[in-house]
């Protein structure tokens, strides 16, 4: 109806939205088959962590932004060490990159013609 199409694929967001709503409705219907007679606030609704005590949610438990992707940054630490070292913050280095890219572009363009 109003979708866009590349040469070999199509995307119709209205159809996607209808499908998404349909799936939500199916999920809601399945949820309504559940038990309704449970007691809130007792052990029936508490999270179960292998029987361990779960601490109360507080600001001290909040995972800070720095630590959220620790594993991924550690895994790519070789890349990050080199690339972050290149971002020196010194203005002369920025201009050196500019002159360098200019030189490379000239070399490529002169080689090609």
């Amino acid at each position: 109806m109003n979708g866009i199409s590349s040469g070999f694929g199509a995307w119709n967001p209205i159809a996607w939205a209808l499908l998404f709503i349909g799936i939500l409705v199916v999920g809601f219907v399945v949820r309504s088959f559940g038990k309704k007679d449970y007691k809130r606030g007792t052990g029936q609704t508490k999270v179960f962590l292998s029987g361990n005590e779960e601490p109360e949610a507080s600001a001290a438990l909040h995972v800070r932004g720095r630590h959220l992707y620790w594993g991924m940054v550690e895994g790519l630490s070789g890349y990050y060490r080199r690339v972050q070292a290149l971002h020196t913050g010194i203005l002369s280095d920025y201009a050196a990159w500019f002159v360098g890219v200019l030189a490379v572009v000239f070399v490529i363009l002169v080689l090609v013609r």
Binding site: Q84, H87, T88, G89, L91, S92, A95, A96, V99
Partner: protein, 116 residues
Amino acid sequence: MNIGNLPFVVAALLVAFGIYTFLYKRNLIKLVIGVSLVETGVNLFLVALGYRTAGIAPIYTFAPAAKQMVLPTPQALTLTSIVIGLATTALLLSFAVFIHRHYGTLDVRKVKELRG
């Protein structure tokens, strides 16, 4: 006397000196001087584009007849460029003053709190 390509060579040298100054000097004011050198080189290049050998100034009033005039358009371009250069140099220098006030130094290798 035919000056040949001398203005263009000088303009290229000025641009080269300006880039060298910008890359290798430490003081922020020297970096601004480097930018100013590049700008002077480009302005000289623009004016030299319009020069015709033994040409006179491009003014019609009281112009001697049958004489070739230099091109006026590059002169207009250069004037515009000089004015733009004035504004950029003024802004750069005022930023340098504020940097000195905040950081206490004008060394470009020490003014790197924004990095990474």
